[in-house]
C-alpha cells in the first residue's frame, strides 16, 4: 500500500487515501481500489505570509534586510508588516512565513528575555543561545506535526563575537556568514557567494543587501517595494525607517521586445 493521495484540510482530522494494490489472481481482485483512513494531522496551512529575509556579517556586526509585505495567497494584503525585531540586547530576529506564528514566537521570546533579566546576574542571552532555543522549539513542533510555519534568521553580536544563523520550519539549522530565506535562497545566495567578503564596511554591506533586495523585487512576485534594513553591533540595534528602492527598466531590449517575433512575449 502506498500513500498516493491525501487531501489537505485545515483541521486535525484528515482523510488520507491509499491505493490498495491487491495481489489477488482474479481480474476483479486486481482492480485498483482506494482505501480511506481518517487520521489526525495537525499540520496547518499558512495564511498571511512574509517573503525573503537576507542577512550578512560585516565588519562591525550583522546587517539584515526584509521587506514589509504580508501576502494573503496571491494578494499583497498588508504593506507595513515589520518582519525584523530586536530580541534582548544582543540579537535580531527576522522571519519569513506565517506572520501569526512569528508574532506568537515574539511573545515567547519576550517572556524568555524577561526571565533572563530577572536573574539580574549580569548575564544575558546571546544570539548563540537564542538560536539554539529557536532550533529546539521549531524541531519539537515539527515532531508533533504542528510546525511554526516560519524560516527564521537570527543574528547578533556578543562580546565582540558576531553570530548569524538560520532555522527552518522543520528544524534545519545552521550558522553562516550570509543567509537568506525563501526566494532569497535562489536569488540572493549566488550574489552573496560571489560578492561577500570578510570585513565589509557598513556602506558596502548595505549596498550588497540592497542589490539582493532589488533582484528579489524584480523576480519575487510576493515582494513589496518597502523595506527595512536592520543593523546590530556591540553597541546595539538599529532598524531603519521603511524606504523604497529605485528600479531600472531602461534596457533597450525592454522597449519593444516582440519586434523581431510578432506574437511572442
Amino acid at each position: 500500500m502506498t500513500r498516493d493521495i491525501d487531501c489537505a484540510w485545515a483541521g486535525p482530522w484528515t482523510w488520507v487515501g491509499c491505493l490498495n494494490k491487491s495481489s489477488g489472481k482474479s481480474r476483479q481482485a486486481q482492480a485498483p481500489t482506494i482505501v480511506m483512513f481518517l487520521v489526525q494531522q495537525d499540520t496547518e496551512l499558512p495564511y498571511v505570509t512574509g517573503t525573503s529575509v537576507v542577512a550578512l556579517k560585516y565588519k562591525d556586526g550583522i546587517l539584515m534586510a526584509a521587506d514589509m509585505g504580508g501576502s494573503y495567497g496571491s494578494t499583497i494584503r498588508y504593506k507595513s508588516v515589520e518582519r525584523i525585531k530586536p530580541i534582548g540586547k544582543h540579537s535580531l530576529l527576522g522571519a519569513s512565513g506565517e506572520i501569526s506564528d512569528f508574532q506568537e514566537l515574539l511573545r515567547n521570546l519576550d517572556e524568555l528575555i524577561l526571565y533572563d533579566n530577572m536573574w539580574d546576574d549580569g548575564n544575558s542571552l546571546g544570539p548563540k543561545e537564542l538560536h539554539s532555543y529557536l532550533t529546539r522549539v521549531m524541531y519539537n513542533r515539527r515532531n508533533k506535526f504542528d510546525p511554526l510555519w516560519n524560516s527564521l534568521v537570527l543574528g547578533g553580536v556578543k562580546n565582540g563575537q558576531k553570530y548569524l544563523g538560520m532555522v527552518s520550519m522543520i528544524g534545519v539549522n545552521f550558522e553562516d556568514s550570509h543567509v537568506a530565506t525563501g526566494f532569497g535562497n535562489h536569488l540572493a545566495r549566488p550574489i552573496l557567494r560571489d560578492e561577500w567578503h570578510e570585513n565589509l564596511s557598513y556602506e558596502d554591506g548595505v549596498k550588497l543587501l540592497e542589490k539582493c533586495m532589488r533582484v528579489l523585487l524584480y523576480r519575487d512576485r510576493s515582494a513589496v517595494n518597502k523595506l527595512q534594513i536592520a543593523k546590530i553591533t556591540e553597541e546595539g540595534t538599529t532598524i531603519s525607517q521603511p524606504y523604497a528602492l529605485k528600479t531600472f527598466w531602461g534596457f533597450t531590449a525592454f522597449q519593444n521586445p516582440t519586434a523581431g517575433a510578432e506574437g511572442s512575449w
Binding site: 494584503r77 501569526s100 508574532q103
Partner: protein
C-alpha cells in the same frame, strides 16, 4: 444552476464585505448583510457588526458559526476584564483576545475579523485579525470575499485625517461597490460609528445606495415605464 444536496447542507458562510476605517476622532465600521448557505441567501438582513463592549465592536466574516462563537467568548472575557479593571476595556485588549482565540484554534476556525473601537488612551483604533490569527493595527482594514474588489479603490480613495462624514461616506461607497461585484455580498449596508461621544448605528437600504456601471434605476413595474415613456403624437 441546479441546487444539489451539498448546497442545502453547506455551512453557513458569510461571503461578506467588512470594512473598518479610522477618522479624526474615532472609527467607522461597515458591512453588507448577506449570509449564504451555498448559493441560497439564508439571511438577507444580517447584522455582521457585533458589539463586544460599549466602546468596541467587531466586524465578522467567513463562517457565521465560527465568528459568532468567537465574538461570544470575547464578549464574555471582556465583560469580566472590565469588572476586574474597573474601567472600559481598551480596543487593543479586545483585539488581542480575538487574536488569541483565532490563533490557538487556527486549525478549526475559518473566520476573518476586524476589531474597531474608541478608548480614552489611544482614541479610535482598527485592528485586522485575518485567518490564522495575525493581529495587525491599521488606519483602515477591509475583509471578507468582497474586499478583493476594494484594494484598488482604497489605494486611491483613502486619506489620513478625514472627518466623520467623509469616513462614513467612504465606507458606504466601498461596501456598495463590493456588493455590486461580489455575488457573496448583498442586501443593505450597515455602519457603526464609534467615538468619544458614544456609538451610532446607521442603516442604508439598497435603494438609497448609488448606482454603478450597468445598474439601472429600480422601478415598480414595466407598466409604469411604458406610461411615462409613451411619445406625444406629432402635430403636422
Amino acid at each position: 444552476m441546479d441546487l444539489k444536496m451539498e448546497d442545502f447542507n453547506a455551512p453557513h458562510s458569510m461571503g461578506t464585505t467588512i470594512i473598518g476605517v479610522t477618522y479624526n476622532g474615532g472609527v467607522v465600521l461597515g458591512a453588507d448583510s448577506r449570509t449564504s448557505t451555498g448559493v441560497y441567501v439564508a439571511n438577507r438582513a444580517s447584522d455582521k457588526i457585533t458589539q463586544l463592549t460599549d466602546n468596541v465592536y467587531l466586524c465578522r466574516s467567513g463562517s457565521a458559526a465560527d465568528s459568532q462563537t468567537v465574538s461570544d467568548y470575547v464578549r464574555y472575557f471582556l465583560h469580566q476584564h472590565t469588572i476586574q479593571l474597573g474601567q472600559p476595556a481598551t480596543v487593543k485588549v479586545a483585539a488581542n483576545l480575538v487574536r488569541l482565540l483565532s490563533y490557538n484554534n487556527k486549525n478549526f476556525l475559518q473566520t476573518g475579523m476586524i476589531v474597531g473601537g474608541w478608548d480614552k488612551y489611544e482614541g479610535g483604533k482598527i485592528y485586522g485579525v485575518p485567518l490564522g490569527g495575525t493581529i495587525i493595527e491599521q488606519p483602515f482594514a477591509i475583509g471578507g470575499s468582497g474586499s478583493s474588489y476594494l484594494y484598488g479603490f482604497f489605494d486611491q480613495a483613502w486619506k489620513e485625517g478625514m472627518t466623520k462624514e467623509e469616513a462614513e461616506q467612504l465606507v458606504v461607497k466601498a461596501v456598495s461597490l463590493a456588493i455590486a461585484r461580489d455575488g457573496a455580498s448583498g442586501g443593505v449596508v450597515r455602519t457603526v460609528t464609534i467615538n468619544s461621544e458614544g456609538v451610532s448605528r446607521k442603516f442604508y437600504p439598497g435603494d438609497t445606495l448609488p448606482l454603478w456601471h450597468e445598474e439601472l434605476e429600480p422601478q415598480n413595474s414595466l407598466l409604469d415605464m411604458m406610461n411615462v415613456a409613451s411619445p406625444e403624437p406629432m402635430n403636422m
